[in-house]
Amino acid sequence: MTSDAVSAGGDPRRLLADTRTFARRVRVAQRVTWLPLLVLGVVTFGAILVQAVSRPVTTGCRTTDAGEICKVWNPVLESYWLVAMVAAYVVIAGGYLRVARARGLGSRVRPYVIAGVAAAVLMFTLIAAGAGRWIVPDPHDLLNPSTSILVLFRLLTASGGIGLALLVLAWLERNVALLLFALGYLAVVLVPINFGWGSHWSGKSEGAAQLIVNGLVLLLAGAGFALAQRLRASR
């Protein structure tokens, strides 16, 4: 085959259409979308175990007109999230680079990894510093938080950080399916689904139900994206 066989004859519309096709094919070939979903799903399930064996610590209590306000956080669990998330993004970056190299391509995963690690560090710092008291200075709002404050607090968690970083990955990959998944995942994180299960569990297991849902959503989506990629490759 020679270049004549693929000549566009200088037709600008066809040349431009070809560049778009080539660009799309490269981006599809670079995708390893199932990997971050699988790894972050495993990290989320790991958090359930860590939460079960660790205790929250209450410090800095002060009495206000509205009632007593304390800083409550679980240093073991939050440290787990920080270390596990950084390790997860290192694994994801390595996986993306390895797969892209094997396919004969470079990778554009770096901004996603930077966003993910930055989100993990930011969430850890905010929670460790007890930033809720600065973000919502009015004690009445803290003791009886409105829906918008609850949504904000749920966003400023490790699970929220995972969702935000996935939006960055969807943009990098120009991946509409991943964008829709990331928005759906964020909806699950921000507007918790309550099936009634876990409501009668002990205080130690509180929040485990939400982590199970988040982890399952990530793992199922990872399996779905892996299957879709396999089907596409076999065509």
Binding site: V6, S7, P12, L105, G106
Partner: protein, 119 residues
């Protein structure tokens, strides 16, 4: 003595700005793929563009001579691999070519009468 007088340049036809090195499907394809992939292996380009190795090498030589791509040869185990990446000039040439193609299409769409209006 008077200085140079700024006169508006007549609007040139987009065709006059086309770069012969870039305005060709295969070479435009190489630049596009290298731009999207950051760096691309010879085998991927050959498969995507449907070319023989010799033919692709000729196109790469033209682009390398023009300073639009960099070619790096190495080994992975015992297997030789050739990686192609865009230079800064290549990046600019690709952007300019795409802009000119869009201009050309826009010009054609505004000057060619639609069907039914010609009569």
């Amino acid at each position: 003595m008077t200085g140079p007088v700024d006169t508006p340049a007549p609007e040139s036809h987009p065709v006059t700005g086309l770069d012969d090195v870039v305005h060709q499907r295969v070479r435009l394809g190489i630049l596009t793929i290298a731009h999207e992939a950051r760096r691309v292996e010879f085998g991927f380009l050959r498969t995507e563009l449907g070319l023989t190795g010799g033919n692709l090498s000729q196109h790469l030589a033209v682009l390398e001579t023009a300073g639009l791509v960099g070619i790096e040869k190495g080994y992975e185990g015992k297997r030789g691999r050739t990686w192609i990446s865009l230079t800064t000039a290549g990046d600019a040439a690709l952007a300019a070519e795409i802009a000119r193609l869009k201009q050309l299409i826009a010009r054609v769409e505004t000057t060619v009468p639609r069907q039914g209006e010609a009569s």
